[in-house]
């Protein structure tokens, strides 16, 4: 089923117009938001619409809403603390511009969803990974799992792995095994299970980003949406093979093995 219906002319706020950064220091975790809403045509609307920013993580557990005032005087509240969220990883944001009066009070005029903020200490030109990883306590003895229950897929790594999650991911043997499998799981999910290729107009849509990455591996675009499972499955296999070849995954293991044999 298509994810996005827009029956009311709700505008999409462009990612570049809703830049959010997390800050973390001795004072705690908080966020800054640079919202540029002047070009969306809200000026003539009376009463002035309101702007809200919501921070959330996971579909259920954590959510906090911040009132940024009216659209013509939009500014962050004094308190933008997110201490109850604990760690900065996995926090997403929504920006909403809402009718503030009359019969249409509460109607969304514009919104941006699933905004990934810059993490603390992340440079502005940092390229965000296609999939974020998080430590997990709820996957039993599995070493890792791709979780799709949130708005963005997350790579869960068992928090009990020896040496810690970061060390686990940095190990070249683990990366060689995990990365193609993760790629296959994600592409299978969006092309075969959900049959949802994302929103072409949203260049931060995770589905769009993954397909763009896979297509860029000298493959070209995937088969049409109504293609059969075999055809789509073949394309996924070729994409994963191309990735493995480009990353030299087999060569990585051969090098490790050769080094181990060398006295």
């Amino acid at each position: 089923m298509p994810r996005r219906f827009n029956y009311t002319g709700r505008q999409r706020i462009r990612r570049e117009d809703a830049a959010i950064r997390l800050q973390q220091d001795s004072a705690g975790l908080r966020f800054d938001a640079d919202l540029r809403l002047a070009s969306y045509g809200f000026d003539p609307i009376e009463p002035k619409p309101k702007v809200y920013v919501e921070a959330y993580r996971g579909a259920a557990a954590q959510w906090k809403r911040f009132d940024f005032g009216f659209v013509d005087t939009c500014r962050a509240p004094t308190d933008c603390a997110l201490n109850e969220f604990g760690a900065p990883e996995g926090i997403l944001f929504r920006v909403k511009v809402t009718e503030s009066g009359g019969d249409a009070e509460g109607r969304l005029l514009a919104a941006a969803d699933a905004i990934r903020p810059r993490l603390p200490n992340e440079q502005d030109d940092h390229v965000q990974p296609l999939i974020q990883h998080v430590p997990a306590d709820d996957i039993g003895d599995e070493l890792w799992r791709v979780d799709f229950s949130d708005e963005l897929p997350l790579l869960k790594i068992n928090s009990r792995v020896p040496g810690g999650v970061q060390q686990f991911l940095l190990d070249p043997t683990h990366r060689a095994s995990i990365t193609p499998a993760v790629m296959r799981i994600v592409l299978t999910r969006l092309l075969l299970i959900d049959r949802d290729r994302g929103d072409d107009e949203d260049d931060q849509d995770w589905r769009v980003l993954w397909l763009r990455f896979a297509s860029g591996l000298c493959l070209g675009a995937p088969p049409e949406a109504d293609a059969g499972e075999d055809e789509l499955g073949d394309w996924i296999n070729r994409a994963v093979e191309a990735f493995a070849a480009k990353a030299g995954l087999l060569r990585v293991l051969e090098t490790i093995a050769a080094n181990e044999e060398t006295p």
Binding site: Y7, Y52, E54, G58, E105, G106, R107
Partner: protein, 242 residues
């Protein structure tokens, strides 16, 4: 007795025991973990708690909210050891014995908060109602639709509405749910509210999810939300106010 918290070892032991309980349903709870220095430690600041029975999730949440609202207690919701200790203390109410002496615990997330598993926090049988109560501290009775059930049986409404934090935290949405589904005279859910058909809590959650695409639900008050609900909710909406 003095409130304590389980150590990591204590949480691991209790988690393992819950796993064994699923296989051997007549096991006795490992109450020794509550006081053993190897598996538990004092909670700071010092708080007194009593072994007592709670009529429903509301009573338990109110009690715990009062006990934990003391100076020096910061973010108790993130203390897995605390909630596991409390779970073990009140285990007979969270997982009561059936007539044949067996217990049916179900998933571990009901008894041990899965740190890092944000989606399951509201499934914890004590932390879930505690968070809901605290989110509506100024008017907790408004959330009775999700707090009226027995501790061990949260019910369909909780399952549906706890799927999204912004619904649970929204006092107007909670008031709507309570107006629709809670009979304050009987102190129980209205007849017919446990189903899945038109006007059910499942449909209420589904309708809210639909409206969320078009409306900023947090900007709407209770009356506006009730007025928006389609006719399938009339049989509950037309009930006399309680």
């Amino acid at each position: 007795m003095k409130l304590r918290r389980l150590t990591d070892a204590g949480v691991a032991d209790f988690s393992a025991w819950v796993g064994r309980l699923n296989e051997t349903p007549k096991l006795d709870p490992p109450l020794r973990l509550l006081a053993d220095d190897a598996t538990s430690e004092p909670f700071r600041p010092e708080v007194e708690v009593e072994q007592q029975s709670f009529a429903n999730r509301y009573e338990a949440a109110r009690y715990l909210a009062q006990k934990l609202a003391v100076p020096g207690v910061l973010n108790p919701e993130s203390d897995v050891g605390l909630w596991t200790w409390l779970t073990l203390l009140y285990f007979d109410q969270l997982c009561p014995k059936r007539a044949d002496g067996t217990r049916k615990p179900g998933e571990l997330a009901r008894y041990v908060v899965a740190a890092g598993s944000f989606q399951r926090i509201y499934r914890h049988l004590l932390l879930g109602p505690f968070l809901i109560y605290r989110a509506h501290e100024s008017d907790p009775l408004a959330a009775m639709a999700v707090l009226q059930s027995p501790l061990h049986q949260p019910g369909e409404i909780v399952e549906q509405l706890a799927s999204r934090q912004e619904f649970i935290a929204n006092s107007d949405i909670m008031r709507c749910a309570t107006l629709l589904y809670f009979d304050a005279v009987r102190g129980a859910l209205r007849r017919g509210s446990g189903g899945k058909g038109p006007g059910s809590p499942r449909r209420f959650a589904s309708t809210l999810n639909q409206y969320d695409l078009t409306y900023d639900l947090a900007a709407l008050d209770q009356q506006a939300l009730m007025d928006m609900l389609p006719s399938e909710f009339d049989r509950f909406r037309s009930q006399p106010p309680v």
